[in-house]
Symmetry: D2
Subunit: 111 residues, 4 copies
């Protein structure tokens, strides 16, 4: 497996964990009302990151296409998280942007 | 949630289970050597079906795009499985083709 | 695969979908503040149901133990959901109790 | 979240990736016939590791119980993988033993 794939798997799995932690922590915040979108996008991003990591680890032909989708989801989630001051949101935003960049690199292999 | 989404979630989850069972049963067959591709595609298809079902259940904006990918994976897996006489392969092929058709319906919402 | 395993896989996957839908719908409710626990337990229950279904489909030796855990999670989630009048909560509660009963049947195989 | 939980999440996710890669690589080996058990256990271990990481990230009350199961699965998978000379098997064995140790630490919190 190429180093690029390995790094992208790691970025996806870090992002999955950050999203699950962020959603969990958001659910305990006093300003829950303003975190609806954050939780919603965290959940979708976590699903896509987990699945992307698995398909990359399986050397799947679908990897570039799924990486493209995953990058989109990470960017959208990262932008929303970055608007909140909570530590878990900021940490999640960083993980999302890292993952998006890594996934873009693999999505570029698309014809 | 629309009935179409509900039916597609069910098709995806049935296909996920059929793929996992098929891969598990293939691993116990005497002609394992000829089932490499079947197991490989079963695993990828299971990942995509599980994730598609989750994103549909989350009413995600990514649903049509992931359904397109999932339909492709199901068709490829179904074609391979349908070439083998084992019951688990034939059952899996049917589940794959059902899921592919259901996913195509949702993928058609793409602009 | 035994019919009992098949039924339990179906119950787990139905419960997974109901939990994901319930959490998604809760996030859009006006009384979000009172649904924190519901969303939290939906998420955990969905993870356990998905994993239990996969291990059952793999004919795993860990099935009875994971079914025991899954039954506990389903009961806890079902009890919380059943206290809310939203349709999605009531539907989720029913799916949780069905899944708990089915999982208990398999957990009973534990020595 | 405690540092111990964070480390365990990382160990689980590394193990998940190692197991998926090992199963994928095994399916391409000439001595496939001797790798049936390895692939079978890789798949189960991957499911348990992924779910354990998610439940830990959700700060779930089920974490210690699932960590106990995950540690058992990792040890069993690690023992089988360690008997094969393939690089992917040896790498997977190491990831399995690391994850088992980390999960044991959290399982010890069980009453």
């Amino acid at each position: 497996m190429s180093e690029m794939n390995q790094l992208c798997i790691n970025a996806c799995l870090s992002c999955l964990a950050a999203c699950e932690r962020c959603a969990t922590a958001c659910l305990q915040e006093p300003n829950l009302e303003h975190l609806r979108d954050c939780i919603r996008l965290d959940r979708q991003c976590a699903v896509l990151c987990g699945m992307t990591a698995q398909l990359l680890a399986m050397d799947s032909d679908y990897a570039p296409q799924i990486c493209k989708l995953c990058a989109d989801a990470c960017e959208k989630c990262g932008k929303t998280c970055s608007q909140h001051d909570h530590d878990h949101c900021q940490i999640c935003a960083t993980a999302c942007f890292d993952c998006a960049e890594s996934c873009r690199g693999i999505a570029m292999r698309l014809p």
